[in-house]
Symmetry: C2
Subunit: 218 residues, 2 copies
Amino acid sequence: MKNNASKENLSVATLRRMPSYLRYLKILKEKDVKFISSVAIAKELNLNSVQVKKDIAFASKTPGKPKVGFSVSALLDDIEDFLGCYNIKDAVLVGVGKLGRTLLSYNGFKNYGLNIIAAFDNDPVLWNSEINGKTIYPIEKLPGILKRSGAKMGIITVPKVAAQDVCDLLIASGVKGIWNFAATHLNVPDGVALKNEDLAASLAILSQQLSEILKENN
Amino acid sequence: MKNNASKENLSVATLRRMPSYLRYLKILKEKDVKFISSVAIAKELNLNSVQVKKDIAFASKTPGKPKVGFSVSALLDDIEDFLGCYNIKDAVLVGVGKLGRTLLSYNGFKNYGLNIIAAFDNDPVLWNSEINGKTIYPIEKLPGILKRSGAKMGIITVPKVAAQDVCDLLIASGVKGIWNFAATHLNVPDGVALKNEDLAASLAILSQQLSEILKENN
DNA sequence: TAGATTGTTAATCGATTAACAATC
DNA sequence: TAGATTGTTAATCGATTAACAATC
C-alpha cells in the first residue's frame, strides 16, 4: 500500500542535502532574487543538476518553469514545509555542560521545527535556573515531565559514561528519537531512531581530504 | 601510478564509520576484552559483517584470526593510526562565541590528531585572554600567525553573515581545509577541502525517521 | 573433527549521472 | 524561432550484501 508515492525513493542523501538548498534559497531571497534554476543551484553548491532536480521534486509543490526555473520564495516555503519546519516537535535536553548550554542558547533549531521544552542535569546548582527561557530540572523529574508533555525527542549532551543510562531513561519515558552528542556508542531498541552527532567522523573525512590536497601540492 | 593500493576503494562511508569502531573498541578495552570478531562488532553497531570486515581491512595491519577475530588493542592502535590520530594537525579557530568557546574547551579533538593553536575574534574584550590554554587574538593577526605556524586547517564558528569573509581570509592565509560550523553555504576554490558541520541536516534525518516511527505506532 | 570466523569473489541494490524529449 | 530549462528514462557507477572457500 503506497499512499505517498512521491516519497518512494527519498534517500538519506537527499534529506541531507535539503537544508543546504534551504540556506542557499534564503541567501537568494535576501538578495531579492525572484527565480532560480536547478542548474544554477547545482553550480553554486557543486552538485549535479539532475540530482538537484530530483531532490527538489520531492519537496516542491509547483513544477519549475522551463527557461525560468523555480520561484525562490515558493520553493523556500515548500522545502521548509517538507523538512517539517512548520510541524514543531518538542524535545528535552539532558546534560547542561558547555555543549548543552550552547545548544540551549541556540535559537536556530526552531527554524527546523525543533522546540526544546526543558533541560535536565544532576547538578543541584543548576536546578530551576533558566537558559534562554528553558528551565533546568533534576533528572528525577524527567519521566514525569516527558510523559506529561508528550515530547518524543531527547537530546543527549552528558559525558559519555552517563550517556547510555540517560538514553535508557529517555526511552523508558516514551522518547522515540535520540539525538546523541556524547562521543560514545549507544544501544537503542528497534522502533527508536538514533542520530549520532559525530564530530570525530566529520574530522576524519576532512583530515583525509586535507591530506590528499597537501599530498598533491607537495 | 598507484602507490597506495590498499586505499584504492576507501569511501567516505567507510571513513565515517571508522570512528564508531574506535569508540566501541575503547569500550571493549576498558572492559578488558582481549579479542573481538567482525561479526560481533557488526551486531553491536547494527552493521553488516562484511562491511565491517572490509572497513577494518583498510586500517588493520595484522589479519584477523579465524575463530578468534582481532586483538582489541592492536586494532584500536591501527584505527587510531589510520585516522591520523598520531599525526597532529594544527588548526586555528575563528569566532569565539558560545560554540567557539565550547570547541576550544573540548579536549577530545586531540584524540583525533587535531590541535587548535590559536583563536581569533573581533571583540577587543577577548583579545589576549585564554580559553583552555589557547590565546585569542584580533582577526588582523590571523594571516601572520597562520603563515608563521604553517597550520593548514581553519575552524569557522562566526555568525553566518561573517562566514564567507572569514573563509576567504583563511584561504588567503594558506589554509587548505575548512571546518565550517556557521549555518550557511560557503564558496571555496578547488584545492580546498570544506566540511560543513550541519546540525540542520542531522535534524532533518532524525525528524524524518522519528515521523516514520510515530506513523507506524499511530 | 566440527564449527566459527576470516577474507574474497560475485551478485544485488541504490544512488548518481548521461541522454533526451517536452516546454516555454 | 532558438535556446535554456524542465522532468523523465536509461546507463553507469559504486557501495552493500550474499555466497563460499580457506583457516584455525
